[in-house]
């Protein structure tokens, strides 16, 4: 079946300890799966197979049930988030101003799709619905920085700036 290669899981013993505490605290509650997954994502930043297995084991539910819940809610992510989180607004105003082309340009530049993370862990791309800056449409956010009135040809330069800061090349 189509399986994506995901970045190697790098969980720490501290994270594992924290997750175990969360599981122990919730284990007896009905419907514990959802709150546990929430906290697990906060601990690890995402829900890789290793974490989902630990949750399945800890709560005594099957991995396919955990996976079903994790893929149902868009809040859960199966891929890690990058050091720099790029978020392209696809809200109505941005969309009519060509936000889809901005997103396509970002995806092309980084060689990953929305929802994914680059192999080196520097960037992840997501789309969002309205950041409340419709006057600046189309809008993209990188971490806390807002870039407005974008055109596709500006994307390259903006991302290069972050790459340069990291002292590398992409």
């Amino acid at each position: 079946m189509a399986e994506k290669t995901l970045p190697t899981f790098r969980g720490t013993p501290e994270q594992q300890q924290k997750l175990q505490e969360v599981i122990d605290r919730n284990k007896q509650l009905p419907g514990a799966l959802l709150p546990v997954l929430h906290e697990a994502q906060e601990i690890y930043g995402y829900l890789p197979i290793e974490v989902q297995q630990a949750v399945a084991d800890g709560l005594g539910v099957s991995l396919s049930e955990v996976y079903g819940v994790a893929t149902f809610y868009s809040r859960f992510s199966l891929t890690p988030k990058g050091k720099h989180r790029i978020s392209v607004c696809l809200g109505t105003a941005c969309y009519v101003k060509g936000a889809d082309k901005i997103l396509a340009e970002v995806e092309k530049k980084l060689g990953i799709k929305s929802g994914e993370c680059t192999e080196d862990g520097l960037f992840s791309i997501d789309s969002c619905r309205c950041v409340g800056a419709c006057g600046l449409a189309p809008v993209m956010m990188i971490d806390e920085d807002v870039y407005g009135k974008l055109t596709p040809d500006q994307v390259d330069k903006i991302i290069d700036k972050y790459i340069a800061e990291e002292g590398g090349s992409n």
Binding site: M1, E3, Q52, S62, S64, E65, V66, F72
Partner: protein
């Protein structure tokens, strides 16, 4: 009992409180169509096919989940209801890969039947192209999600009945699909292969991995000698594929039909190796009891159950009887004893077992089962459904055939072997033989206490001063409960029989498909089981040790139960498997 009174299509009905509208309608003999509902397995109100109207209530109600209420006036076939059902079906068909003519479920598909009943326009909404990769990596089940209607019956069978839950709904909205965690192939998941998902599927999304072509090739290969053997339950179910009433024993016609599949094809009776299993297993049990071996001893004839232990309860592997299953034993007997006796090169003997089971397809590929490293003992394991298709393709009219016997030398067997097909049968057959071994004067043959539909049957027997505690269950959800009980030390059994499928092999994942209309209204498992027990009653021999064929193979080849040769060919080993992956 508190009851409620309601009217359905103006017919007054009185039903116990808590009944759904669907149950109430059934009681009044009013048919409401269903798709996702499957009695005792799935009741989630998801498909919206069972919608009905009720006076003074807004909107339509899903009859399968909506409780019947006092004074309710339900209408099941108003124009609004019909239109709603029709649109629902048309929407389902918009994402359905409509290749009906080449679909294995053609003419036996619940969606197709409903579409015909409601006169749908299959092209009303734009159809989509297939988007899902077909998962055919496992040796036993194929999943084609392009035909899935997301009724979740397979998911419910896996979770609610079997308690395994290796498949579930993934994602949501238009992207929702059924599969294993992380979209892995079923082959890489801890699936036990029972096939209860397959027999629950209303459409062609789940099928067994067909191996009919391999058998046809062997039949037309002049180098190959093709031999079939049919599992104990097949005689009681094959007829259903040829419009015989459920529970008709078609043993003689079955043997005649298989023999007509091709020149030189032989057909043997697998009840014989069920008998052989009993001899070996009874011997093993007595040995374990006398030599302080691991107890309780678990039966090992059900491959779904064996794989379940290997994945989920590896600590119990030493408890599994080392006996191969009847399928495995027959393969070994044929490729050793039979080939030697008849001067056949085992590579030219093509062994086809007909089994009620998808997990047996997996079992046939187990390397531990090979008595010789170079070839599988069982070349192909065919489900009852595949055999039926082969008979049909050969243009054989089963109903018109005269009864014929199996081929010698494996033509005779006992009632003990025959009842393997139903839950409790293996244990009962073992008790029959063990009791006679321990006490030559023991007269009891019918151990009714271990039969029946109860979830778990626990009985204590006293034979020749020895107390034997036994337990029987079927369905892996029940098996899990029993294992937990043993783990906690709350039970002290000497022998436990477990079958993965509820009711045993007569309800196996490879048996003829019965649609929801039958499954929701008829106790098909009881009818099939009755055919097996009636057969047993009429057997010349009822205890496995009485079989002349058994005597012959021990005298000529295997010496005695548990002896070196018997051990080499008739016993096997198990492997621990991962709980999350293959």
């Amino acid at each position: 009992m508190e009851t409620v009174h309601l009217k359905i299509n103006n017919i007054p009905v009185e039903v116990p409180k808590g009944y759904t509208i669907l149950q109430a309608a059934n009681k009044a003999n009013i048919k409401i169509p269903t798709l996702c509902y499957l009695k005792d397995i799935n009741c989630i109100g998801a498909c919206r096919v069972c919608m009905v109207e009720a006076k003074n209530r807004r909107g339509l109600l899903a009859a399968c989940v909506y409780p019947a209420e006092e004074g309710m006036e339900v209408l099941t076939n108003t124009p609004a209801v019909i239109k709603s059902r029709k649109t629902t079906l048309e929407l389902l068909l918009s994402t359905h890969h409509k290749k009906c003519l080449s679909c294995v479920r053609n003419n036996n598909c619940e969606l197709q039947r409903l579409a015909a009943e409601y006169g749908v326009d299959e092209d009303r909404f734009t159809s989509s192209e297939p988007v899902y990769e077909i998962d055919e990596q496992s040796p036993y089940i194929v999943r084609d999600n392009n035909k899935c209607v997301q009724c979740m019956r397979c998911v419910a069978a896996c979770k609610n009945v079997q308690g395994i839950s290796v498949i579930g709904a993934i994602k949501r909205g238009f992207s929702v699909h059924v599969g294993s965690a992380f979209d892995k192939s079923l082959n890489d998941s801890p699936c036990v292969g029972c096939g209860q998902c397959v027999v629950s599927c209303p459409v062609g999304a789940l099928t067994e991995k067909s191996q009919e072509d391999k058998v046809w090739d062997a039949i037309s290969d002049p180098e190959k000698q093709v031999v079939f053997y049919t599992a104990p339950s097949i005689k009681a179910t094959l007829g259903e594929s040829f419009d015989f009433p459920i529970g008709t024993n078609v043993e003689g016609k079955m043997a005649a039909a298989i023999r007509r599949l091709g020149e030189g094809v032989k057909v043997f009776n697998m009840d014989f190796t069920a008998d052989l299993t009993i001899l070996e297993e009874a011997n093993e049990l007595i040995e374990r009891i006398q030599n302080g071996g691991k107890l309780p001893m678990f039966t090992s004839c059900c491959p779904g159950w064996v794989k379940f232990v290997e994945h989920y309860y590896p600590e119990f592997i030493p408890n599994l009887s080392s006996c191969k299953s009847p399928q495995g034993m027959f393969g070994a007997v044929l490729k050793s004893y039979y080939c030697e006796k008849n001067n056949i090169d085992p590579k030219n003997l093509f062994v086809v077992s007909v089994i009620p089971c998808t997990a047996k397809k997996f079992e046939a590929t187990r390397p531990e089962l090979r008595s010789n490293k170079e070839y599988d003992d069982v070349d192909v394991a065919l489900t009852t459904r595949e055999l039926a298709r082969m008979i049909k393709r050969a243009g054989i009219n089963l109903a018109n055939l005269d009864d014929e016997d199996y081929d010698a030398p494996f033509n005779k067997a006992t009632g003990g072997g025959a009842i393997f097909g139903s839950t409790g049968g293996v244990l009962e057959a073992a008790l029959r033989t063990a009791a006679r071994t321990l006490d030559g004067d023991f007269k009891k043959v019918d151990f009714d206490e271990v039969r029946g539909p109860e979830e778990v049957r626990e009985v204590t027997y006293e034979v020749a001063g020895v107390k034997i505690n036994v337990a029987v269950t079927s369905g892996l959800g029940n098996a899990r409960k029993l294992l937990e009980k043993i783990k906690k030390g709350e039970a002290d059994y000497q022998m436990v029989e477990i079958m993965a499928c509820p009711g045993g092999c007569i309800n196996g994942g490879g048996q003829p498909l019965q649609s929801d209309t039958v499954r929701n209204n008829v106790d098909y498992k009881a009818l099939r089981a009755k055919a097996i027990y009636d057969y047993d009653l009429n057997c010349e021999y009822r205890c496995s040790d009485e079989s002349p064929v058994i005597k012959m193979v021990y005298d000529e080849y295997f010496e005695a139960p548990g002896k070196e040769k018997a051990h080499k060919y008739l016993h096997t080993t198990y492997v621990q498997r991962d709980k999350y992956y293959k």
